[in-house]
């Protein structure tokens, strides 16, 4: 840029104002956008000084420009103009006078205004109904938008779980409840006397001690087993209302599919806004410096402490990002030998990580098998030990999820990545760890369920041990949910609170090194995504689980809020609102995908238990759908068969791929055009400056010439609206300026 500097520059490199530049049409349009109405500018006195140097002709061109643009702004509502209220008022009055609307036009305008007002009030009313509005505003004021995104994510999950529960309730539970009231006739599935359909009752008999009730509540067994809570209770086949026959198995299956789809669509819709902007950005840096600087300060912070923290976290973030740039440079400069060494270290450490993960998964597998076998033994041991054995898989999972992140964050230090990549990679490992542990638990459960003494099970599953295996799976999911909630509450009460007490009152070295608890957003988000994945898997086996999860997240909100305000300080490395929005929903989608897998496998592959549940009369849960389709009229049947055939699937896939390739090609073409336009803009700027330099030279030459000739010539600067030729002297075209001519300082 220095080589083609054509301006008068003073030593500090600031461009001094050039009277010619001020007359450019582009500058005039800028002024108009900044200035108020042509009556005068109260706010920008400096712009007046730039305007002042030219003659009176310029005002006429300015007004002409302004009128053209004012015509364009007629369509926009008044409040979108960047003016003061007074100026908007006068502008509006001018507009109304100029327009002279007929009474029909006025009536239309006033109705439009009234409807808009109504819509705004309705929106305001709706947003005031939003849950936890005041609390979230308080958190935003104290901690900024990064942590706020965690709490609004929690609120989203509460809403999602509530809607899922409403779906399951209204399609599965409600018909059973209202059947007797509306004189519906319930047909129960008949047990065909088969050995598979024996279902021993697990209710406790005789005198039941209170702590056994508590044990039952915590483990989902005993009196809870044969209730609406679990799959096994829904032994209904059809409900005959007055006009229609309601098939409960079909409703159960379709409600499951519906809630999976609904979750998917809602999450995608919520992430679509952030995603669009990230796609449009053509930089490879995810978070640009401009975003950090121009949108860096949360204007909603009201707390002094929070402001100080925000400043220090911004400083830290900027320093880290600048350092990362330098590190990237260093990485690019690495020699070959160093690179081989680093790759070797990374390989070894990755193997170590895989080994650690494999060890964790194996211990989860062992714990599940041990727990299941111990429960089957049915000895009346100490009830506390029994409870611990029942919760053993949950305990092992929680321990693994506690130790592994610490281990990963130590290991990553030796792998020598750039800081941002380190954080992301550790996070990926933790996500993988948490969500796969649920999969391992389920896998080990299924290996138990489908393992019989003989080679192949008679009923397709182990009917001796698991007469109603879906209820058992539901119970495991229920236990995981309860344990998760207990752990979150316990950690807050018994770890964070004493830690804060210690930091506040005890000033020894160890305590100061440990420091106050940081509110680490990624770990907290992983916790609740883990809980949500369990909910998604468990709803098929335990239809009331979404309601339990809603209540659980409701309490977690308040626990976390109190913990944040009293015990924690925000993390030093800030979590940006936009990237966190993306991260939360991305992890949630991974959780949803992982949740779909076990449910699909169990619905389609494993035989449904024949002693309980709505699918007694079908071999697998999925089979109810083909059976129902076979009863539909022929036309609908053929249509549905065509939709599910391979031909349709393949052609649909091919069409989708073509559409995707087209859109990718279009995006690539747009990117190229944008780059060309940017280069053109830069070139235009340089052209402009070059021409101005020539003009200045020409003026200077003419001034020199006119000194020798006593004629008076107009010294006003040439207007762009007159032709160039009449104002240019030949000297411009004759000589190339030397690099350090008299026009340069």
């Amino acid at each position: 840029m220095d080589s083609d500097a054509v301006f008068y520059t003073d030593r500090s490199g600031i461009v001094t104002s050039n009277p010619l530049l001020d007359q450019l049409p582009s500058y005039q349009s800028l002024l108009y956008r900044r200035k108020s109405s042509n009556g005068g500018t109260k706010r920008r006195p400096s712009s007046r000084s730039r305007l002042g140097s030219s003659g009176s002709w310029k005002l006429s061109t300015v007004t002409r420009q302004e009128e053209k643009q004012r015509g364009q702004t007629l369509q926009r509502p008044i409040r979108e103009l960047a003016k003061t209220i007074n100026e908007k008022r006068t502008y509006k009055k001018q507009q109304d006078e100029a327009r002279e609307l007929s009474s029909w036009g006025q009536w239309r305008q006033s109705t439009r205004r009234y409807l808009r007002r109504l819509k705004e009030e309705a929106q305001g009313w709706f947003s005031s109904l939003k849950l936890w509005r005041g609390d979230i505003r308080l958190i935003e004021g104290m901690f900024g938008t990064g942590i706020l995104s965690y709490f609004s994510f929690l609120r989203f999950l509460v809403m999602l779980n509530l809607i899922i529960f409403l779906i399951m309730f209204s399609f599965v539970i409600l018909p059973i409840i209202i059947a007797p009231k509306s004189s519906g006739n319930i047909t129960y599935s008949q047990s065909n006397g088969n050995v598979c359909s024996v279902y021993p009752s697990s209710a406790r008999r005789g005198l039941v001690v209170f702590h056994e009730h508590l044990t039952d509540l915590l483990s989902g067994g005993g009196f809870l087993e044969d209730t609406y809570l679990f799959y096994g209770y829904y032994k209904v086949d059809k409900i005959h209302f007055a006009q229609i026959t309601y098939s409960l198995p079909l409703a159960y299956l379709l409600a499951t599919v519906a809630y999976m789809f609904l979750s998917l669509i809602w999450i995608v819709k919520r992430s679509a806004t952030g995603f669009k902007q990230n796609l449009i950005q053509d930089e490879d840096r995810f978070q640009s410096f401009c975003n950090k600087i121009f949108a860096g300060w949360d204007f909603c912070i009201t707390d002094k402490n929070a402001a100080r923290l925000k400043r220090s976290s911004l400083l830290y973030e900027l320093k880290t990002d600048l350092e990362e740039e330098r590190i990237k440079q260093k990485i690019a400069d690495r020699t070959r030998k160093e690179r081989c060494r680093i790759y070797l270290i990374r390989l070894i450490l990755n193997f170590f990580v895989i080994g650690v993960l494999a060890g964790c998964f194996y211990s989860i597998y062992l714990a599940t098998i041990f727990s299941q076998e111990a429960q089957m033994k049915d000895e009346k041991g100490n009830s506390h030990i029994d409870l611990i054995i029942e919760y053993l898989p949950s305990i092992v999972i929680t321990l693994a999820n506690f130790i592994n992140p610490l281990l990963f964050s130590i290991i990553i230090n030796y792998e020598d990545y750039s800081p941002a990549f380190e954080i992301r990679f550790t996070l990926m490992r933790c996500v993988f760890m948490r969500l796969t542990s649920i999969g391992v638990l389920l896998f080990s459960l299924w290996s138990q369920i489908t393992k019989c003494k003989e080679e192949t099970c008679i009923c397709g599953y182990n009917h001796v041990l698991y007469s109603c295996w879906e209820t058992r799976v539901g119970q495991e999911m229920y236990k995981l949910t309860i344990f998760d909630f207990i752990i979150i509450a316990a950690v807050t009460l018994f770890v964070e609170f004493p830690r804060k007490m210690m930091v506040q009152y005890c000033d020894c070295g160890v305590v100061r090194w440990w420091g106050q608890q940081e509110f680490a957003i990624p770990q907290n988000v992983l916790e609740i995504v883990y809980g949500q994945t369990i909910c998604w898997i468990g709803t098929f086996y335990c239809p009331i689980l979404p309601a339990i999860c809603t209540i659980k997240y409701f309490f977690i909100f308040y626990i976390k809020k109190v913990s944040l305000i009293k015990n924690c300080r925000p993390a030093t490395r800030p979590f940006r609102a936009s990237s966190s929005h993306f991260f939360f929903l991305g992890v949630l989608l991974i959780g949803l995908a992982l949740a779909c897998l076990p449910v699909t496998v169990s619905v389609a592959q494993i035989s449904s238990s024949q002693a309980c549940g709505p699918f007694v009369n079908y071999s697998t849960s999925w089979e109810v759908l083909p059976a129902t389709v076979a009863q539909l009229p022929n036309g609908a049947q053929n249509l549905l068969y065509a939709l599910s055939s391979e031909v349709f699937a393949v052609s649909f896939f091919v069409v989708t791929c073509l559409a995707m390739f087209y859109v990718i090609a279009l995006a690539g073409a747009h990117k190229r055009v944008i780059n060309q336009l940017r280069e053109q803009l830069a070139m235009e700027g340089r052209d402009k400056r070059f021409l101005i330099q020539k003009l200045c030279q020409a003026q200077g030459n003419r001034a020199v010439q006119s000194k020798s000739q006593p004629q008076t010539r107009s010294r006003s600067s040439p207007s762009y609206h007159t032709s160039f030729s009449s104002n240019f002297s030949e000297s411009v075209f004759l000589a190339h300026p030397p690099p350090h001519s008299s026009t340069h300082v």
């Binding site: 840029m1 600031i14 461009v15 800028l30 956008r33 900044r34 109260k42 706010r43 920008r44 400096s46 730039r50 008044i78 409040r79 979108e80 960047a82 003061t84 209220i85 007074n86 908007k88 008022r89 509006k92 007002r117 705004e120 009030e121 305001g124 938008t145 990230n278 930089e283 640009s288 410096f289 401009c290 975003n291 600087i293 121009f294 949108a295 860096g296 300060w297 204007f299 909603c300 912070i301 009201t302 707390d303 002094k304 402001a307 400043r311 220090s312 911004l314 400083l315 900027l318 320093k319 600048l322 740039e325 940006r576 609102a577 936009s578 803009l681 830069a682 235009e684 700027g685 340089r686």
Partner: protein, 191 residues
């Protein structure tokens, strides 16, 4: 001289609703806070003409911790003396620009003016340096080193200066803001 009223008339409120992005409740709340800031119970201020000085306005909790509070007052002030004092209508303008329903164009327009410390219509190197120092803190140990500052300003100009003249003008600023996902959520003040 009209009577000085401390209550807003209905026509005034509906006119303000028309001319700003604020809802009726927000306008009334703003009026209440404005009157409270005046701190003189005996003489309630006249909405159209009375000006609150800048040192009273920055006592608002929403503006107290804001490093840009002086710039905000100067940008929205319509006073002849350029002392940053605000009438009630200036105050409404301020809240309207920072409200939830303001358009991105309005927000970026005012953000540009707030960040333009020397008022020359573009963001030059000096403006950017002052901006970064406001964000990180004014004391010596919270500033970036000059080396880091230069690197940062180079990065910013590389990203946003399209015509390569060393400054960011309004169009370039609005262009880079339109691609900045955090801006709308952070450029917000709600009473």
């Amino acid at each position: 001289m009209g009577t000085s009223t401390s209550q807003l008339s209905k026509e005034d409120v509906s006119e303000y609703q028309e001319l700003t992005f604020l809802t009726k409740q927000e306008i009334l709340l703003a009026h209440k806070r404005f009157v409270e800031l005046h701190e003189d119970k005996k003489n309630p201020p006249d909405t159209r003409h009375f000006r609150l000085t800048m040192d009273k306005i920055v006592k608002l909790p929403e503006l107290q911790c804001n490093p840009f509070r002086d710039r905000i007052c100067h940008v929205f002030s319509t006073s002849e003396q350029k002392d940053g004092s605000l009438t009630f209508e200036d105050f409404l303008d301020l809240l309207s620009a920072f409200s939830d329903s303001a358009t991105l164009e309005i927000k970026s327009h005012y953000a540009f003016r707030i960040f333009d410390f020397d008022g020359d219509g573009t963001l030059g190197c000096a403006d950017l340096e002052k901006l970064v120092n406001c964000l990180t803190g004014e004391t010596d140990d919270t500033r970036l080193t000059s080396e880091e500052m230069r690197q940062l300003i180079n990065n910013i100009l590389e990203e946003s200066d399209i015509d390569k003249d060393g400054t960011v003008n309004l169009s370039e600023f609005q262009h880079v803001i339109s691609r900045s996902p955090d801006f709308v959520s952070s450029f917000k003040i709600v009473l």
